[in-house]
């Protein structure tokens, strides 16, 4: 192997520490999952991991996470734009507000959201059958809390900071002369955004989306309060795992965990490959 001379040496040492660290923290504990999941035999694994109730919970978990991360893709980009481009009183207050979902214990977030979005809550009552907005949705009104919408709200809440925080520095580093150049060449605002700004922030958007999505998949604390937790309807996978554990069905719980693990890893790998590909194109 060819040896490169670097200003800062220590590739061997730093890679060694990286591998040890990731092994002890991530790889070994997660590998043991497979071991535990196999403990009940294949039949038990299959019935635990692919029963109608679990399939429904996979759908709701992945679906709601996808929707939440995608909502934040747009909202996060907008917030980052406002924070980077404009100077206004209260800007640093808003900036700090963005990080709150990170700092709060998620249960606090869940309770707060439920209070606001429950049918008698500050926001939820407008969506109740007699509410301002809810009356247009028939006799049931529009149920926010205790429905899949509630899950999406909770997941949107906890995954909000990711897109904002990944896009913000990239947008801040964008040379305003690029926009002026586009404008002098005859591009309108939409063309300038689509052809000049968007290609620059796209890798950051994708990274933010991925982080938000991954975070939402694993979220438990905030969702259980607002979801209603009805099997087949509003039951997320992390909750189902806890339920199995409470029933002392360790093999069943780990079977679910393994499915989540494999699916999440495959997704993250795919998205990271995609983002590396777009990055290479952008910086070539």
């Amino acid at each position: 192997m060819k040896r490169y001379h670097r200003v800062l040496p220590g590739f061997g040492l730093s890679l060694g520490i990286t591998l040890l660290y990731l092994s002890v923290l991530v790889l070994i504990p997660l590998s043991l999952l497979f071991w535990s999941a196999g403990g009940g035999g294949w039949e038990h694994f299959k019935s635990a991991a692919f029963s109608p109730r679990t399939i429904a919970s996979y759908k709701i978990t992945f679906g709601a996470s996808f929707v939440a991360a995608t909502i934040n893709l747009f909202a996060g980009m907008l917030i980052a734009w406002v924070l980077v481009r404009y100077r206004f009183p209260g800007r640093s207050f808003i900036d700090a507000l963005v990080d709150l979902p990170f700092a709060l214990p998620t249960a606090v977030g869940g309770i707060a959201l439920t209070t606001a979005y429950a049918p008698n809550g500050f926001i939820g009552r407008h969506f109740a059958p007699d509410g301002l907005i809810g009356q247009h949705f028939g006799p049931e009104g529009l149920k926010l809390a205790y429905s899949p919408i509630g899950i999406v709200i909770a997941l949107t809440f906890i995954s909000l900071p990711f897109v904002v925080r990944t896009v913000q520095p990239v947008l801040g580093g964008l040379d305003s002369q690029l926009e002026e150049a586009a404008s002098s060449l005859g591009a309108n605002r939409f063309q300038t955004f689509r052809r000049v700004i968007f290609p620059y922030i796209w890798p950051a958007l994708l990274t933010g989306w991925t982080l938000g999505f991954a975070r939402a998949l694993g979220e438990y604390g905030s969702v259980v309060f607002i979801a209603g937790n009805q099997p087949l309807k509003t039951e997320i996978v992390p909750l189902l795992i806890i339920t199995r554990l409470e029933e002392y069905d360790y093999a069943g719980a780990t079977a679910l965990a393994v499915v989540m693990l494999v699916a999440s890893f495959a997704l993250l790998l795919a998205i990271n490959t995609l983002s590396r590909w777009t990055n290479r194109r952008a910086s070539a």
Binding site: Q177, A181, A182, S184, L185, A187, Q191, R195, A282
Partner: protein, 355 residues
Amino acid sequence: MQISVRGVSKNFGAFRALDNVSVDIPQGQLVALLGPSGSGKTTLLRIIAGLEAPDQGRIFYGDQDVTNCSTRDRGIGFVFQHYALFGHMTIFDNIAFGLRVRKWKNDQIRPRVLELLRLIQLEGMEKRFPAQLSGGQRQRVALARALAAQPQVMLLDEPFGALDAKVRADLRRWIRSLHDEIHMTSVFVTHDQEEAFEVADFVVVMNRGKIEQMGTPDEVFARPASAFVTDFLGRVNVFHGRVQNGRAQIGELEVPLEAEHGSEGDTFTAYIRPHEVEIDRQPHGSESMLAAVSRVNRTGSIVKVALFAQDGQLPLDVELPHEREAALNLRTGDMVWVYPRQVRVFSASTSETAS
């Protein structure tokens, strides 16, 4: 197309970047806006381009008032100091950008881009990305991109500022010859007087948000209109003093002033250009003064002589042709007589007097 700037003012907070500026950029000419940083030259260019809006005043392209017209509708080409190329696009896509957003057909875009690549001598580079080019190549791409949609006006903001000396000189010459080919009304901003004089048909000298002088390079150099211009054009000996007996006294040197040019006791600033001074072994009365040679540098196309007059009080730089210096055979420490052929005197209350 002629560009007319009428009474334009612009403030940035408390800073007055432009103060009631009016200027005409003649059709088809290459004009330099020359001035130190903070003189308002870039602000003026950006207002002409529509990238900034003036607080007061109007901008005309020909007869058309474009003051409220956005940059994209002005039909200009703008070149930035740091190129502002789109890093995620190939050279081809960069040059084609202005054509695509203006909805040119693909079968028209390709020949136009290839023609421009030939013009900037970067044929075969269309698939590269800006990061793979040198500074001079990037600036040429930026130029081709600005030229692509055949703008009526070309505006360049310190186009050579980020390049090293050799590339800068090449690009200057190239831009001059390009302009001789396509005769587009062009304005470029620079703080380098040599660059302005070498490239431009007209030079507009700016200072503190105002225009000090406009003219051809020859006019501006031969007859600087103010102390600022004389000073800014550089490489000049500067002397300060007070008017006495109707004369400006520089050491032993007396420069007669006409009555309207400064009254008794006024402070004045006198400028003597190094190449407008003679050195001799003989005195020439009150038009010359004694000075000691401190250093002789014969390495350039002219000989640079550093002297001190007035017992070392007045430093003075002189430039002589090699033949003249050889005849004098100057050595460090020699006492010689210097007599300026031309002294430009600006008194505090009036403008120029020359002797």
